[in-house]
């Protein structure tokens, strides 16, 4: 164990701080640009400075420096602290880009990766369908090959950020006679294509971040197929490791906990600040135990990955999602208890975002619902339990539908 970052990372941290001070917010005429253009400018400069898109080759618009997850964590922390818009569309930078890097054609990489990294293209993930959530491999939306095009007909649902997305990456059934994962292909779809209809869905917290997407004979050029026809399932798995790393990032848990302490100082129980109530103090300390586990477990995962010792921490990686969504739910439950009557506050439209934001009562109420959403999205808690049972504890696999090698969402 050596938890000192060392001079190299201390210098990096200083450099990132300096960079953030000099580059965000934008100044002068640039400050007058529309917000999205400002963010694109910032990200372009951060990539040039070697702070973003670090492992992406220069040919595809990245910074091309040797991979160093610890450096990346330091950069993330500092840019978060500076409030800088370093996170472009996460579906784009964290799911699509790694997938293309591993499975995309040269032309796809050159065409899509650079604008995705800076946020000129926003992406959405078109996997789930009304009849296919956990059992993703059963999805039905068809893409039929017609000369140099696929023609898509069907429906996606719960597609986060589809209303603002320029492109969708998704799974579609190209092989009609292959009922399950063997019949799927991974396609890139321009959201402005004729025949696409995006309808925002109102979420339980009142927000409208996810949508239904209808496809009525939507034409997609054949060159937008990633990997081979019928191998979309395999292509979609390429990003798994990257997604897990993202989940392992426990920085939000600490922010939420600080907010929770502030809330306990503000609200009053029996005429005194709740923070003085011994029962409340104990509950907070219990939560801090959960959070400390999450924080240190993610440090351990990060450190092992940085040393190419991924295998040693694989079980911990497989547990990270369920653990972190459990902890998030415990925190928001505590917040609701502290809020008392205010736990009925209807979130206003600017309080319903998934991002952390100012911890108002309405935002806590929304976050308590978002916490349930995170336990559903990206593989439900029960699906996580299956994965843990089967891959960590070596228990028998659940019965599979006939003729399938696999197919549960992860």
């Amino acid at each position: 164990m050596d938890l000192r970052l060392g001079a190299h990372y201390d210098e990096l941290r200083e450099r990132v701080r300096e960079f953030a001070r000099a580059n965000w917010p934008l100044r002068g005429a640039e400050a007058e640009l529309p917000r999205r253009e400002q963010e694109i400018l910032f990200r372009r400069r951060a990539i040039e400075a070697g702070l973003l898109a670090r492992t992406v080759p220069r040919a595809y618009g990245g910074a091309e420096v040797p991979t160093d997850p610890i450096a990346e964590a330091v950069i993330r922390q500092e840019l978060d602290a500076a409030g800088a818009p370093h996170r472009a569309s996460p579906q784009g930078t964290h799911m699509l880009v790694p997938t293309l890097l591993e499975e995309g054609s040269e032309a796809q990489k050159r065409h899509y990766i650079p604008p995705t990294l800076v946020g000129e293209i926003y992406w959405c993930q078109g996997y789930s369908e009304p009849g296919a959530g956990s059992d993703l491999a059963s999805l039905q939306s068809r893409a039929v090959a017609h000369g140099d095009h696929f023609v898509i007909t069907g429906q996606k649902i719960w597609t986060s950020n589809a209303f603002e997305a320029d492109m969708m990456f998704g799974l579609f059934r190209t092989e009609a006679d292959e009922p399950r994962s063997g019949g799927l292909s991974y396609l890139l779809v321009d959201m402005k294509s004729p025949g696409i209809d995006v309808r925002p869905l109102r979420q339980m917290n009142g927000g409208e971040e996810f949508c239904e997407v209808f496809f009525d004979e939507v034409r997609v050029p054949i060159e937008n197929l990633v990997g081979r026809r019928g191998e979309g399932w395999k292509v979609s798995k390429a990003t798994l490791k990257h997604e897990r790393m993202l989940i392992g990032d426990a920085s939000y848990a600490r922010i939420h906990f600080q907010n929770l302490l502030d809330l306990a100082r503000r609200v009053r129980h029996g005429g005194r600040p709740a923070i003085e109530d011994p029962g409340i103090r104990r509950r907070l300390a219990e939560l801090e135990g959960w959070i400390a586990c999450q924080v240190h477990a993610s440090q351990r995962i990060l450190s092992a990955v940085a040393r190419n010792e991924d295998l040693e921490v694989l079980p911990d990686m497989l547990m990270a999602k369920l653990n972190s969504t459990n902890v998030f739910q415990r925190m928001t439950r505590m917040a609701l208890d502290l809020l008392g009557e205010e736990a009925l506050t209807e979130p206003s439209p600017d309080e319903t975002g998934m991002a952390v934001g100012t911890p108002t009562p309405g935002r806590w109420v929304s976050q308590a619902m978002v916490a349930i959403g995170t336990a559903i999205a990206g593989g439900t808690s029960n699906i996580q339990r299956n994965i843990i049972g089967e891959r960590v504890l070596g228990l028998p696999r659940d019965p599979r539908p006939p003729g399938s090698a696999g197919g549960a969402r992860t």
Binding site: R282, A297, S303, R307, R385, N386
Partner: protein
């Protein structure tokens, strides 16, 4: 930065694990347990030969000069094997003397402690569940101690007892000192007997440095690591049982309800490994984090292990409720880890204060 073990630490843990598997298999634990619980001198000798007894004692006194993390890795293995050994008290006594003793005190006691010939222990808590040193009533007058310490691990097996007083002060008492009495304490964990020590004017020598807080923190981390070992083992025992036990014509592990219960148990305990690693590391390297990290590890992990132990009983069905099933041994060991040196809630009160809530 490296959040992980060195090759030496992995090897150490592997060595202790295979020693426990070879010398202290379940039937040995069972024999000690059914005999009403006692210290098994042969086992302790074997552990001492591996270097466990003197692990944190400086090399000049015959120890290995290692850190609390190394000791905690041993504690995990002893917990995983429910090993009946006077490890906890001995390790805390070694920390006390290594950090707090004068040169002549070190020369006098450390070599024998390091070799394991002399077994040490520590009296911390006082009757009524008092763990706060400011509330200790033990008194040191004219070279003698007056008062009582409750829940002293392996007190009868120990040749040297470190008594904690207020203000971090520590006092050494030797076996056979006049005025020293021990009384057995009823304790469900028969792998580690607890005794009450009564001090009626017992001649004692004060350690040079008042390092009581550090001795307590070392104990908290070791209890957390032991509890982790118990909990982690219980999850694996339960999984193996579920694969072997047949009902309705198939292994119960094929029932998803069972699978999910087992997965929940794993998620309850497994992520906490990094917390006790951190607390152990902080003990030696991060003085400003030390106290709170130790309290968090103890409060959190011993609670998790107790929960897992409860679920492990259920996972074993009627067999799990029997004396014959080893789950009960771990259940009780986890209960010891949870209560000794203060309950989770007592430490949460401290965490809230230390965290400036």
């Amino acid at each position: 930065m490296h959040f992980g073990l060195t090759e030496e630490q992995k090897l150490l843990q592997e060595t202790v694990r295979s020693f426990v598997a070879g010398e202290c298999p379940p039937q040995v634990v069972r024999a000690v347990f059914d005999a009403g619980g006692a210290h098994d001198p042969a086992l302790w000798k074997g552990l001492s030969e591996l270097g466990v007894a003197g692990m944190v004692v400086p090399e000049v006194y015959g120890g290995a000069g290692l850190e609390l993390l190394d000791l905690a890795l041993v504690a995990e293995e002893l917990g995983a094997g429910a090993v009946p050994a006077p490890f906890l008290g001995h390790a805390m006594a070694c920390v006390a003397l290594s950090l707090g003793a004068s040169e002549s005190q070190r020369e006098r006691w450390l070599p024998a402690l390091a070799s394991g010939e002399l077994v040490g222990t520590v009296g911390w808590s006082e009757p009524g569940g008092v763990i706060d040193p400011e509330a200790f009533t033990v008194e040191f007058r004219e070279g003698a101690l007056f008062g009582a310490k409750s829940l002293v691990p392996n007190a009868s097996a120990a040749g040297l007892l470190v008594v904690a007083g207020p203000d971090g002060r520590l006092f050494v008492v030797e076996r056979g000192a006049p005025g020293l009495r021990t009384e057995a304490v009823s304790n469900i964990d028969r792998t580690r007997p607890l005794e009450k020590v009564i001090l009626e004017g017992v001649p004692a020598e004060e350690l040079e440095q008042p390092v009581g807080d550090r001795v307590r923190d070392a104990g908290l981390v070791l209890l957390a690591a032991d509890a982790f070992g118990c909990g982690h083992r219980l999850v694996r025992m339960s999984a193996e049982y579920a694969k072997a036990r047949q009902q309705f014509g198939r292994p119960i592990a094929e029932f998803q309800a069972v699978k999910h219960q087992l997965a929940n148990m794993a998620v309850e305990i497994d992520p906490s490994r990094a917390l006790w690693w951190f607390a152990a590391h902080a003990f030696d390297h991060m003085p400003e984090e030390r106290e709170k990290a130790a309290a968090l590890a103890k409060a959190h992990i011993t609670d998790r292990a107790a929960r897992v132990a409860r679920d492990a009983v259920e996972a074993h069905g009627g067999l799990g409720f029997t004396w014959e099933c080893d789950v009960q041994i771990y259940f009780k060991r986890a209960a010891f880890d949870r209560v000794v040196l203060g309950t989770p809630d007592q430490h949460r009160d401290r965490i809230a204060d230390l965290g400036g809530y």
